[in-house]
Amino acid sequence: MGDWMTVTDPGLSSESKTISQYTSETKMSPSSLYSQQVLCSSIPLSKNVHSYFSAFCTEENIEQSISYLDQELTTFGFPSLYEESKGKETKRGLNIVAVLNCMNELLVLQRKNLLAQENVETQNLKLGSDMDHLQNCYAKLKEQLETSRREMIGLQERDRQLQCKNRNLHQLLKNEKDEVQKLQNIIASRATQYNHDMKRKEREYNKLKERLHQLVMNKKDKKIAMEVLNYVGRADGKRGSWRTGKTEARNEDEMYKILLNDYEYRQKQILMENAELKKVLQQMKKEMISLLSPQKQKPRERADDSTGTVISDIEEDAGELSRESIWDLSCETVREQLTNSIRKQWRILKSHVEKLDNQVSKVHLEGFNDEDVISRQDHEQETEKLELEIQQCKEMIKTQQQLLQQQLATACDDDTTSLLRDCYLLEEKERLKEEWSLFKEQKKNFEKERRSFTEAAIRLGLERKAFEEERASWLKQQFLNMTTFDHQNSENVKLFSAFSGSSDRDTPTLHSRSRQKKPHGVPSGSPVCTSKLTKSLPASPSTSDFCQTRSCASEHRQPSEMLQTQLQTIAIKQFNQRSEYHH
């Protein structure tokens, strides 16, 4: 396009359409220089436009310019501007339609070119900025590379120094070790030399001692003697025995016996300890199994590998338990079984706890949405429970150990332990005996008392009877005396009322006596008589009297006294009557 301008600068016509063409043409220059030119030239556009436009086509060269334009357009592929000529010689007239079409085409083209130019320019800008950016990045990366290279070199240097140091230290260590070894060798050699010298000196010394001993013994020193007033008896009171082969054998026997006793005692202690520890281990195992079994359901859901083995383990262990309880011996296989099963259980427990730990960590990362995972609280609770149980087991073991050690410490002799064991029971036995004896004594006392009481009761009864008898006789006398007197109720009543309440009995006895026609009747003292009397009372003819006396006496006396008095009066009357009859 630049060529265009330089060529068409002189003699351009200014038509309104071409003006816009030019201006648009000038805008299409690709390079920034050109655009600058255009921009600065675009300001005084109005001035230049005219010059431009008038530069190309003036009124004089219209035909030339038309033909030129036609040429150019046809070379560009546009249709000709001229009308279709009939002949080659005549001048072709301007095809206005073609011109207009060409112009439209050119405008469209121009627009397209402008758009393309815009796009290209924007792309250009973009690319420019990209390039700037990339150049910056490149510069930065280069810097970074430099620094990292420098760093690497520095680190390498340090590494080298440290390696040097390490080697030096190793060397020093080796030297020290060698020195130590050397010193040890020196010490060893000195020790052997010293021992050798010591032995030599010792031999000399022994020789001297022997010599001295010989001299001492040879002197036949009569002073070496023991003076004693009288010989003391042996501590155990026995006589000394001669030294014979028998005594030697006896000594050997005794020695072996002592040794064997000691070994047996120790073995017993160890067996006891073993039994205790085994018990504790078995308990631990049971507890571990019980701990693990309720939690087996959860692992099963998650389809872990070890579930199959776990279930089989539980079954195996259950079988083992029963087997072990039957045997309970300290044979190799039982011991191995126990330790193996405990180890197995412990491993299972450990893996379980680890799984729980993993789950907890997963829960931390994934949150609580995962349904398969136990909630953290449950997990913590479970671990706490397990820890508590383990602590309890440990404490149990410790207490068992302490008890065992106590037992071991205090029990120093077989005899004393057995004695001690008996002692506790002895106390109780003696207490029991004492209580028994007390009980027996008390029993005896009670028996005695009972017997005495019965005797006393019998005696009382007898005395009573005697008393009754006397009374009866006394009454009888009274009655006999009374028969001489007049019937004065009040006096009799008074007299009779002086007696105690047992006069009820007296009267029937008297009655019975009178009936039996015995002046001195034996007192029967049986209640049968009273009943007889009571029965016979209503039949007696003096009931009316009875009622009368009763009514009159009721004001002054109590009913029992009244009854007594009435009975007495009746008796007296009857007696009098009888006596009258008899007489």
Partner: protein, 437 residues
């Protein structure tokens, strides 16, 4: 009863009232005094004259004199049956066994001159004797009833330093000198049960103690540690260290502190490790808080028998406690709980601990430091008791009465009996001493 001797007189007193019961006179100054096992006889050894005189308590007019003559005498002791006396002649040429029942004399040749060469079993049946012949160590076991040789075997030691029976009489512990750490355990019939060696080349064993139940053997060595062997496997079950700084919060550290004197402010010299005994001022125990650093003693590196290592070991009679003393921390006594195998308490005194001994019945530890106080520790606590009286009574050693009710405190010239009564506290009684048992 209690016997003490002054120069050449032997005084026998009643143990409760200190009343003089009997008085005997010997021919020369008495160096060693020993009761027979049945408490009927007393042996007085006069080393300078080479004489042994025996007195009877039942019959004061009975006497016995054993003259070793030119053979000389360096040691004398009773046999467990109380009827034989074992005299070791000068240069350890031989041991003569004199019988008080018969006129028989037995000789044992080549006894070993070492720290603890003779040991009797607790039931008095057997005697183990260390011997040395042709630069090799042997052990002979004799039956005490007829002095017959039961077993004679050699030991794999360089230089045997000591032997000791276990309280059950079935195992004999044999240990080497401090130049080699070696403990050998022999059964009663002479078989080697086990050998134990903790380390090589450094100085080895300093002290050994059996537990009363024969379950444990405690070995104190020059490296400041106590190693405990168990009687089942004869292997070490634990080792107890004695560091100069105590940091374990479970240990109770009792520090002896002087109660401030009531009159004025005397310039008290700062307590140094090797300080002499304190003036008779009261002291009490304070519980120190962690961490506690104890006073240490730097030993002279170029001299023999350095003051480092576990110099003293003792088990309590009920087998529950072990008391130890580390010679490089000489003011402190460590008490260990054997049931739990861990340290229980540390008692730090103001002066060097001279001696300690457990009571024979109850777990009570009596400690003396050369001052005028005796210190008692029991699981319930510890107490410092001042010996009453005028002036300084420097307690140099102590000895419990077999019943455990009283304690004899010995100073240079005097002795004091301390009675421990349950409710009334303690009372003291004094006497003079030359040598005292």
């Amino acid at each position: 009863k209690q016997a003490s001797c002054i120069q050449y007189r032997l005084v026998v007193r009643d143990a409760n009232t200190l009343q003089i019961l009997q008085l005997y006179t010997c021919l020369d100054q008495i160096q060693h005094l020993e009761w027979s096992a049945d408490s009927l006889f007393i042996l007085c050894a006069l080393y300078k004259r080479g004489l042994v005189q025996v007195w009877s308590l039942e019959q004061p007019e009975w006497h016995c004199k054993i003259d070793e003559g030119s053979a000389g005498l360096v040691a004398s002791c009773w046999s467990p049956d109380g009827r034989h006396i074992l005299n070791t002649t000068e240069f350890h040429l031989r041991i003569t066994v004199w019988s008080l029942c018969t006129k028989s004399v037995s000789y044992i040749k080549y006894p070993k001159a070492c720290q603890q060469g003779i040991t009797f079993t607790r039931d008095g049946r057997y005697l183990a004797l260390a011997e040395r012949r042709d630069c090799r160590d042997y052990v002979s076991i004799f039956v005490c009833s007829d002095w017959q040789l039961l077993r004679h075997f050699d030991t794999d030691t360089q230089d045997l330093a000591g032997i000791e029976w276990a309280p059950n009489g079935c195992v004999l512990a044999v240990w080497d000198s401090c130049l080699e750490y070696k403990v050998l355990l022999y059964s009663l019939d002479g078989r080697l049960l086990s050998a134990f060696c903790a380390y090589e080349w450094s100085l080895g064993i300093k002290s050994v103690a059996w537990s009363p139940s024969s379950q444990f053997l405690a070995i104190g060595s020059y490296d400041g540690k106590v190693r405990i062997l168990n009687h089942v496997t004869w292997k070490m079950i634990t080792e107890f260290g004695h560091p100069a700084t105590v940091n374990n919060p479970k240990i109770v550290v009792y520090k002896e502190a002087e109660k401030s004197p009531p009159l004025g402010h005397l310039a008290c010299p700062p307590p140094r490790v090797a300080a002499g005994p304190l003036t008779s001022s009261e002291s009490k125990y304070e519980i120190a808080s962690m961490p506690v650093s104890l006073q240490t003693l730097k030993p002279a590196a170029d001299r023999a028998n350095p003051r480092i290592g576990i110099g003293a070991l003792a088990f309590s009679p009920d087998n529950y406690f072990l008391a130890t003393r580390n010679d490089s921390v000489p003011n402190a006594v460590w008490i260990w709980d054997i049931r739990k195998l861990r340290p229980l308490a540390v008692l730090e005194q103001l002066c060097t601990v001279r001696a300690f001994q457990w009571g024979p019945q109850q777990p009570r530890l009596a400690i003396c430091t050369g001052g005028s106080k005796v210190y008692l520790w029991s699981p319930a606590g510890c107490v410092s008791v001042q010996v009453p009286g005028e002036g300084d009574f420097q307690v140099l050693s102590l000895c419990w009465h077999p019943s455990g009710d009283s304690l004899a405190l010995l100073s240079k010239d005097h002795f004091c009996l301390c009675f421990l009564e349950m409710e009334e506290g303690m009372r003291m009684a004094f006497g003079q001493r030359g040598d005292c048992t």
